[in-house]
Amino acid sequence: MDTIRLIIVAVGGQGNLLSSSILGEAALLSGIPVGMSEIHGMAQRGGVVESAMLFGDALSTVISDGEADVLVGFEPSETLRALKKCNRNTVVITNLAPLPPFTVAMGKGVYPDLDRLQDLIRAKTEKLIAMDALKLAKQAGSNLAVNMVLLGALIQTGKIPVSAENVKQAMRTKVKPAFLEINLKAFELGFSAAQTGRS
């Protein structure tokens, strides 16, 4: 099968690694070859966490600049920063709720304007799906469910060769029972938001 290359970027603490491991388990359930690599050296110290996932027959677990088929960004300025991984045919999904880096408070940098950010991404890629994933996560019952909202949106695009059912099945084994309901709801909300194009 053709290789599908997915990049997920997030800020430490946003639950990127849980969503990518759920996606990996779902691929395993679907019988799809999958490989992943993560860079999270100092994630707990507020840095960026990046997961690269390759579905299909590739042996590499790294995605070069310009070669992502799909980019999911849990934080808008990080989505923009990761645009170097994209090309004209990339589908981008981004959260619109900012977590400004501390350098902004220190006056050592400017946070990008959100409208301009979306225009730029739209102009350089095939499609942008943007939503306030934090709002939807709160609606599902927890600020921490941003990761599942975006996972839902990702699956809705049909770009990843795993079914929503297998992702939910993987969630049941990976998510703590107490949070499962909220996470499933967040997944559904993200899925529908991507469908309607609104959040």
């Binding site: 395993l28 999958v34 860079i39 840095g47 790294v62 923009l80 920063r81 994209c86 350089k124």
Partner: protein, 616 residues
């Protein structure tokens, strides 16, 4: 039960490379393991340590890598299967033990895991540890994938027993921190009862003994070479007159590139997984079938140099290339597009790389560097020392841990760092050469690891030096592993001792020892100021538990703080502390109550007393 213990043979799991390695060791019947934590190897040890609490395995966090290797070496010479786990630079610490252990050899299988870090995602250098195989005379195995890592670790124990030498198992970050589908194998029973049979004229390395042992090592290496020649880990893929020799993750990039470029009929790939000793006949035969050869390996031209030597021995003159300005670099890690492009250019294959988006109109995005956590005691300690040293000309040698982040503004409290423990040793040198007051910083785990000899040196040679020991009660940076100063009862683990840093320091004979609680700012500044006045060696122990660790242990939490309307926007809080719980909204300073841990340091720094605890 630990997930890596309950999985039955044949089960498919989606595992991190480090989990697959831990599982491979369990499948091999590992009996005794030891480590000093270091990224990218840390999860191997954390998984083995957890499993040791519910299995026959003995696993310890040793004080440093040298001791870890010695622990494993002794167990292996009692006939048990043993393992020492460390990051690449850890093997420098253990190198003294490694070199002569190779002479002595082992009885039970012993694997030394060295995790290299090309690109230095979380390391101070990107040294290529394959050269340790050459230096010591020990075999090296290098996996290319997560699944292969599991199988290969298992095999490494068998190989070790066969040639009676420890085996170096070399990974890179992209193996350790990749995740893939792994099919579990059978778990072998653990042989846990060792027996040391005295044989001093083979074990005690006096010169007369070592002369024999070196000859024995060379014989063992000869045997290893025969095994390498026919090893299933050195294999060929494809047919053609263009040859590519590769190892580790480079093999994946090469395979994908050859497929993407559509040259599978033209390229023959030799994957080297058993890389010391190199299989010379296999390589010579491979070269004879090629018009030209490209060696694809991250790091140093380790294979390339040997392959060229083999060609010379066989009288072959075909072009062999690898590292060159227009080919592969010795710097950093490789990636699929770079390998694809270089292969295409080298063999003259037509290739149009995909167009990367033009990003010239993207505005500069505020950087997001890692930062000390909200409520981190190191921030307070740095602030205290900075204030206490005001007016002094200072140099700040630092060390390895979270607190190295103190190098960043606004703290800017780090001037020199080369390795674990170097704050103490270089502090001695600076005191004689820098012409400034020397204030060194070291964490608790790093102090035990290799800071103590430097401090003893400072006492003996009477250096003028203040060592600030940042004691946060855990090895925080690598994921809160234990160290000899940790209270293991808090982790509900029994049977451990505990070493007091203060007693060690006093025992060394430090004349001035000051213990501070860094969240008490004014009192601490005064205490540190006095310690700095002392001509000679003084030690400040700044004692406050890591805030993340305390949270993990569910210890008492404090009220978060807020900015009251007394704020006059001096911004000392932001400008001098740089705590990530702060942010600016519409020109006014705010504190995120979800991030604030209530350490109260900012409240003590604010000139208007405008920062107050949130009332219910």
């Amino acid at each position: 039960m630990h997930k890596l213990l309950q999985g039955h043979s044949g089960l498919k799991m989606f595992l991190l490379g480090n989990e697959a390695i831990a599982r491979g060791a369990i499948e091999a019947g590992l009996a005794v393991g030891a480590t000093y934590p270091g990224t990218p190897s840390s999860e191997i040890s954390s998984n083995l340590f957890e499993m040791s609490q519910e299995s026959e395995l003995y696993f310890e966090y040793s004080v440093n890598e040298k001791v870890a290797l010695e622990v494993a070496a002794a167990a292996a010479n009692c006939g048990l299967r043993s393992m020492a786990v460390m990051k690449h630079v850890g093997l420098n610490v253990a190198a003294d033990a490694l070199m002569t252990l190779a002479y002595v050899g082992i009885k039970g299988g012993m694997v030394i895991l060295t995790a290299d870090d090309p690109f230095m995602f979380s390391s101070q250098n990107e040294q290529d540890n394959r050269f340790y195989g050459k230096l010591s005379g020990l075999p090296i195995l290098e996996p290319s994938s997560v699944e292969e890592a599991r199988v290969m670790v298992r095999y490494a124990f068998d190989l070790s027993e066969k040639i009676r030498e420890p085996v170096l198992f070399r990974t890179t970050t992209r193996i350790n921190h990749s995740t893939g589908i792994v099919t579990l194998g059978e778990v072998s029973p653990v042989k846990r009862e060792g027996n040391f049979i005295k044989d001093p004229f083979n074990y005690v390395t006096i010169p007369a003994v070592s002369r024999n042992l070196h000859a024995k090592l060379l014989k063992n290496m000869e045997e290893a070479k025969q095994i390498s020649e026919s090893s299933e880990y050195n294999f060929c893929v494809g047919e053609g007159r263009w040859g590519i020799i590769c190892n580790g993750v480079s093999y994946n990039y090469v395979r994908d590139a050859v497929k993407d470029l559509g040259v599978e009929e033209k390229v023959k790939i030799l994957r080297i997984g058993f890389s010391n000793p190199m299989p010379d006949n296999l390589i010579k035969t491979f070269l004879e079938g090629c018009e030209r050869v490209l060696v694809v390996e991250e790091g140093e031209p380790y294979m390339e140099v040997e392959v060229k030597a083999f060609a010379q021995e066989r009288g072959l003159t075909l072009p062999i290339d690898g590292k060159a300005p227009d080919l592969f670099s010795r710097l950093y890690e490789f990636d699929p597009a770079m390998v694809r492009k270089t292969i295409a250019a080298h063999f003259g294959i037509s290739y149009n790389p995909p167009a990367v988006a033009d990003l010239s109109d993207i505005p500069e995005i505020a950087q997001r560097p890692p930062n000390l956590c909200a409520g981190c005691s190191h921030r307070a300690s740095y602030y205290i020392v900075k204030k206490a040293a005001e007016g002094m000309e200072t140099v700040y040698p630092t060390d390895i841990g979270c607190y190295t982040l103190g190098v960043l503004p606004p703290l800017s409290m780090a001037d020199f760092l080369i390795c674990m423990g170097s704050s103490a040793g270089t502090g001695c040198g600076f005191s004689k050469a820098a012409g400034k007051k020397v204030i060194s910083f070291i964490g608790d785990s790093t102090f035990f690891h290799s800071g103590i000899p430097g401090l003893i040196n400072a006492v003996f040679n009477n250096h003028n030096l203040t060592l600030v020991i940042l004691d946060n009660g855990t090895t925080a940076m690598t994921g809160h592993q234990p160290n000899p100063g940790v209270d293991m009862n808090m982790l509900k683990l029994k049977g451990y001792g505990r070493v007091s840093i203060e007693e060690v320091v006093r025992g060394i004979g430090i004349p001035v020892v000051t213990v501070i609680e860094p969240f008490k700012i004014r009192k601490s500044i005064e205490a540190v100021r006095q310690a700095l006045q002392f001509e000679g060696v003084s030690v400040v122990i700044s004692r406050q538990m890591c805030t993340l660790y305390a949270k993990g242990l569910k210890l008492e939490s404090k009220r978060a703080f807020r900015i009251s309307n007394k704020c006059r926007n001096h911004r000392n809080c932001i400008d001098e502390l740089g705590c990530p719980a702060f942010y600016v909204r519409e020109g006014t300073i705010q504190i995120d109550p979800g991030l604030c841990t209530g350490c109260s340091v900012c409240a003590q720094v604010c000139p208007e007393n405008a920062i107050v605890p949130i009332k219910d």
